[in-house]
Structure formats: structure tokens, C-alpha cells
Symmetry: C2
DNA sequence: GTCAAATGGTTGAACGCTCAATGAGAATGT
DNA sequence: ACATTCTCATTGAGCGTTCAACCATTTGAC
């Protein structure tokens, strides 16, 4: 280990980090400013809206959204306070809970979606050629695949 | 506005978001676990270490690192508590301050660097072909350029 | 020279995320 | 039956970021 980065690798890495910061900041700010919800809440609402009966088990929702149980639990509590989500006991497993998207939650999502989509277009998609979008897709899936299910200290991880 | 995303655009966007989350989590976790510093602190130390006399004005440092004065001010306060950075009045402008990298700060950076570089390699660079690295570089610089200096509600931003 | 505006930077509160600890129910073994 | 262990989920403390308010100094206009 401890092999340094070449100039070209460093350029790539720094550009990557900078891109992430700009894009994610743009997306998050727009959602907060126009719809008063962080991108993570939006993702939760989207996942629920696409699920059968607009509900999912907490752990499945956590996986689908980012993998942290605790974060999801906190987030659902806050969404519950806003009336956008509610919790339902799981009848077949006494430990389990469903998060359910309420009508108000769906309305909030539908209110937020157009502005968000527009922001994704203007910040990212419109700036790239079709070929670049394809390149980005390939790189992103490669990396996501590479890192998915990476536990701390696993071979691919660090 | 309010034009929906095509399937292909949606695939690209979702892959992008997933990639970011995985990569950034991997990088940040490694630094915290092995060197007890979040990636944002690491970036600050790097910027200072590359500056003349290992010092920069607060606002220049903020620009170079991410653009938020307030975040930087808080971060420098915490780095100061660790003895990694110190503040110096700017002689030519009574309002200004320099953040200065101390010897301890440089040592902390040098201790953290090899593990961090290794993590960048293993999480990202090693998983991509040379061509993909080049593609990623081009996309990243295109987007960073596109979004740099984007104020809220500016034409390219949202 | 004086006053208003702009600039450089800090502060505190509110919020979201992480981590470790916890609890309750289900599965497993004997 | 019973104890062990595993799984699903919640909780609270600690930390970092953001936002708005603020202070001090400098700049510019008159």
C-alpha cells in the first residue's frame, strides 16, 4: 500500500469530489428552499410511493434508501411529525413496522417532484452530451456495484 | 419546466446518486476510523499544506475547500482545539485572519495520507479502466465547471 | 471628516447523521 | 419448556453543517 496517486489520478479524484459537492449541494438546496425537505426525505417519499400499498418495512426501506437503520428511524419519526408518513405494526412479525406514505405525504412529494426534476436536468443532465450521460452511467454502476455490500475492512473497501 | 425524466436519464441519475453515497461513505469512514478526522478536516489540512507558509486567509481557504465561511470557521475552531491549526491576525487587513497549519497538524496529515490514498485507490480508481477514469474526469470537470459559481436561482442552478 | 454600505469573519440555535446501547420479539438448540 | 442467540427497530448523546444574526474593520460617497 501507500502508493501515491499519479497526477492523472489525482486530477480525476479531485474533479470527482468537486463534482459531488456541487451537484449534491445544488440538489439539496433546491429541495430545502422550494419544498422544505432535504434530499434524504425526498428519497424516502419516492421509495414509499413506488412500493405496493405505499408502504415498506423499515429495514427494506433503509436498504432501498441508504442502509442505515438508525438514520431511517429518526427520519421517519420526523416525517411522522409532519404527517407525511405513519407507522403500522407488522402483523406477521411483532418486531417489525411498516412505514406508510400518507395522502399528505404523497401530496408533498407530488408538489416537490417537478422542481426537483427540473433541478436535476439543469444541474446535471443538460450539461452532458448523450455520450457523457452513458459514460457516467457506466462508471456509476461499476462503482456502485464495486462498493455495494462493502463492510468495513472488506477486501474492496478500506 | 416540469418535463419528466426519461428511463435512461433516471437510470443515470439514480446510479449517480448511489455511487456518490457509497464512495463518499467509504472515504469518510476510513478517515474517521483510522485517523479520527472527517474528510472535510482532511481537505482543510491538505489545502493549508499546499499553501505558501502553510497558511491561508479564512475566506480563501473556505473557497478552496467548499465555499461556506461559517462551516470553515467552526471547523478551524475545532482544529485549533486539537492543536493542528492556529489563527494569525492579518497585518494588512484588520478584519482578516490566517489559518496556519501547525507542525502537529502536518504530522496528522502525513499520518492520515497513506491510508486515505489507499482507500481512494481501492474504492474508486482500481475499479475503473483507464478509459473510464478519463470519462469520469471529463464528466466531472464538465459538471464542476457548469455549477461553479452557481448562486441560488442563477441560470444553471435551480 | 463623517456616515453609509460592503467585507471578513464569528457565533448560537436548529437540524440531520452516526455510533453505541437498549429493548422486544422470533428462531434455534437441548 | 427454557436459555441462547439473532433480528427488527428505537433511543440519546455527540458531532458537523446550515442559516440568520451579529460585530469589527474597511471602503466609498459626499
Amino acid at each position: 500500500m501507500a502508493q501515491w496517486l499519479t497526477d492523472s489520478e489525482q486530477r480525476t479524484w479531485r474533479a470527482f469530489v468537486e463534482m459531488n459537492r456541487y451537484v449534491m449541494t445544488a440538489i439539496d438546496s433546491q429541495l430545502i428552499r422550494d419544498s422544505d425537505m432535504p434530499a434524504t426525505y425526498y428519497a424516502i417519499l419516492v421509495a414509499l410511493s413506488e412500493a405496493p400499498d405505499r408502504r415498506m418495512r423499515m429495514s427494506a426501506l433503509a436498504d432501498s434508501v441508504d442502509g442505515s437503520q438508525s438514520r431511517l428511524s429518526h427520519a421517519v419519526s420526523r416525517l411522522e411529525q409532519r404527517g407525511w408518513v405513519s407507522r403500522q405494526r407488522c402483523p406477521s412479525d411483532g418486531r417489525g413496522w411498516f412505514a406508510v406514505l400518507t395522502d399528505e405525504g404523497l401530496a408533498a412529494l407530488e408538489g416537490a417532484a417537478p422542481g426537483h426534476v427540473d433541478c436535476v436536468r439543469r444541474s446535471v443532465l443538460d450539461a452532458l452530451t448523450e455520450q457523457q450521460q452513458e459514460d457516467l452511467y457506466k462508471v456509476a454502476t461499476t462503482l456502485a456495484e464495486h462498493l455495494r455490500g462493502t463492510q468495513p475492512d472488506s477486501p474492496a473497501g478500506c
